[in-house]
Chain length 431, copies 2
């Protein structure tokens, strides 16, 4: 929400495409991290632990063959890491003495970070400790992070204590004495976490744990495991590691001053523009400002002030105005009294689930590409200019034979994304 209007209730900051790749395309934080991990020489096997609501987005941005461990609901980090570890062992068949390295995709990092992850894994494999933590060299006395107090200043040391979110004064003291940020990056052998899990949770294996997931206690991995473990190592990391949680920090990491159609006059200074609309943004005479536009809204803010956006976003209409799905994406282009018009883009070869709506009619007009629709069991090919009528209750799906753009008009009272009934059939295989 703090990166509104680019983030909304279903798209969080990890998915905002804001970083320019060498080929000129833009990528998101999760795409950067995934690409960085895939380049590692050790050929790490990557699994993404995430909540249900993010799976479509992950498939959209990383491809449909990425390995995903889905949390059926939100618990805390201990249940999440146990579930992912059980998934690696029971579903992917990875042995108990193999090493897992856990890293969040939130922080902005560079290539040295991935090398450090590899070292972290090697330390865990060597078996000198049950848990190997990455300790990040602090760049300022943050009040938001947890601190690790290491036993010494050598590259790899033990951990003496863990301190949660101190005030700035205390943080400054910690840092003077060599304390490190706890970034939630650590490595362990699967067997270690599985045995800890069985001590604390009564479960058989992955399937059983998944079933019980909603009943598990909300408890952090730090609290349940890290702070109680004596066989622990801390590896110092001094490279780039930056939380891009606010517009102010996010724009610092942007390579150029704008993404999307924008013009800044020569009297603008320290201005960043991220424009996901098709219309141009013209900026003149601005200082220290961020300007961002999406189908969700438009933000114009002094960079320092941008951290205080939350109460204003809460006052806006929170209806989701754009989303990335596994099959492509959509954006709302008109909100009427009893209608909603959206532009749908399907990637070649992708298709929607076969579904129906109980309280709204829909009309598709194909504006680009070729596809195949199934309407109440009847398949037919569609191309530019073809119109498909789907009254409420009518089961429908569309599959893109080439990249496909469709204008979808939704008609009805109280149109709601949750009015969706999945159906069986409609295609050769289930989407």
């Amino acid at each position: 929400m703090r990166l509104w209007p680019l983030s909304n209730d279903i798209k969080s900051k990890q998915f905002i495409k804001i970083f320019k790749r060498s080929d000129g395309e833009y990528e998101s934080m999760i795409q950067r991290v995934y690409a960085g991990l895939r380049k590692l020489e050790c050929g790490a096997d990557i699994t993404i632990a995430t909540s249900k609501s993010q799976v479509s987005l992950i498939h959209n941005q990383l491809g449909c063959d990425v390995s995903v461990c889905v949390e059926p609901c939100r618990r805390d980090t201990f249940p999440a890491i146990v579930l992912a570890t059980a998934y690696l062992h029971d579903v992917k068949g990875i042995a108990e003495d193999e090493v897992a390295v856990v890293c969040p995709v939130d922080p902005y990092v560079e290539s040295d970070y991935f090398d450090a992850l590899e070292k972290l894994g090697a330390l865990a494999a060597a078996g000198g400790a049950n848990l190997v933590l990455m300790g990040i060299e602090p760049t300022y006395p943050s009040e938001k992070y947890g601190y690790i107090i290491p036993t010494g200043r050598e590259p790899v040391s033990g951990a003496e204590a863990f301190k949660e979110k101190p005030d700035a004064e205390t943080a400054r003291e910690y840092i003077k004495n060599g304390a490190l940020w706890n970034g939630g990056v650590f490595a362990y052998k699967l067997g270690y976490v599985l045995s800890k899990a069985h001590e604390l949770i009564d479960f058989e294996g992955y399937e059983d744990l998944y079933e019980k997931y909603g009943e598990l206690e909300k408890i952090s991995f730090d609290y349940a495991v890290v702070e109680k473990e004596s066989r622990i190592q801390v590896m110092r990391f001094a490279g780039q590691w930056k939380d891009l949680g606010t517009w102010n920090t996010l724009t610092e990491a942007m390579g150029e001053c704008f993404v999307g159609p924008a013009m800044l006059d020569e009297t603008c200074s320290n201005v960043h523009v991220v424009n996901e609309l098709d219309v141009p943004i013209v900026c003149m005479g601005l200082k220290d400002a961020v300007v961002s536009a999406s189908p969700q809204g438009i933000l114009v803010s002094d960079k320092e002030r941008s951290g205080y956006i939350k109460p204003y976003v809460e006052k806006t209409d929170r209806k989701v105005m754009f989303a990335e799905k596994s099959w492509g994406d959509y954006k709302v282009i008109d909100v009427g009294q009893d209608s909603l018009t959206i532009k749908v883009t399907l990637k070649p070869g992708q298709k929607m689930n076969y579904h129906s709506h109980s309280r709204r009619d829909e009309v598709w007009t194909v504006i680009h590409g070729e596809g195949r629709v199934v309407i109440d069991g009847e398949a037919r090919l569609v191309g530019v200019g073809d119109v498909v009528n789907m009254p409420a209750g009518c089961k429908h799906t569309i599959e893109a034979l080439t990249e496909l753009n469709v204008i979808e008009v939704q008609l009805g009272k109280d149109i709601d994304v949750r009015d969706k009934v999945k159906s069986k059939g409609g295609s050769d295989e289930e989407a």
Copy 2:
């Protein structure tokens, strides 16, 4: 163009709805002036002289029964005033000894201005001069205006000389000596301008003049008439009279700090927002700034800098993204590779011209209201959810029985507003 993105190639500043009426609705400059004139006790008969491209907009904003004298092409002010005067005399049958008062709709004025217009007309009727000019008390030594040097400082005097756009130094000198701005506001008896016209132009009456209009010399009324006339009076006017030609001056005249969906945090100061999009604009920590959004684009500018917008607007895509027509309005909601999707709003009882396109297909989906379409001569009623297909060449029109909203998908290569063929028929009477 200087008020981009609210103005575009077909909508000029006079039509931007930015002034809050007492009933809470917003009105444009032309609506303000028209309402002011209609309130005059003298019951002035109002005719609007304008170019062809503005007629739809005038009908949209002032109603379809407003009297309009259309210039078939752009000449200068002398031909325009002669044409309008001939229109009043020959078409509307107004006698030669009746008075016409000419006033531009550009400046921002208040009610005392309309009273002054009435006095100007009374002076012309009294016959003490052939021409009665309004001389506006300057508020600063502008380099953009023409100056009238009056023969004295009394409320009504003679004119000694006219000076075009002096430098600021000279303007300051003029003002010290009692000079006034020439705002192009003046009154005369129709017979006077008609006789001047016949001296300079060989024409029979209005119809003949209209036919010849394109061949007339481009010459200003000031140069052709005012500066050569010795029987002239100048009436001083000291009320509000402000050119709102830039964002900086326009926002000064706004009653509130925003129009349209917007939120400004408490750290904003001297910030104005005009938002014609449906999505909210959130402003935080801005100073002396103007923010404006329309389907044409988004402007974020320091107020002083906003006067330098022209070269940036010239670099944007100039395709017209919204327009007001006599029957309602439309806005572009999606631009595809070979498609354009627009939202059309028709006012109750209004209809489009019966027309066809030679190089594009169209699909209408009715999203609100009820109407009647005529497709290649066949009439039928349409309501919410009805879809109408119009391949290239198909003649079509739609009439609104209630307020009507339609999503129109245009499909074809090089879609252009000029691809429009008007047809006969299609309705009981021609639109």
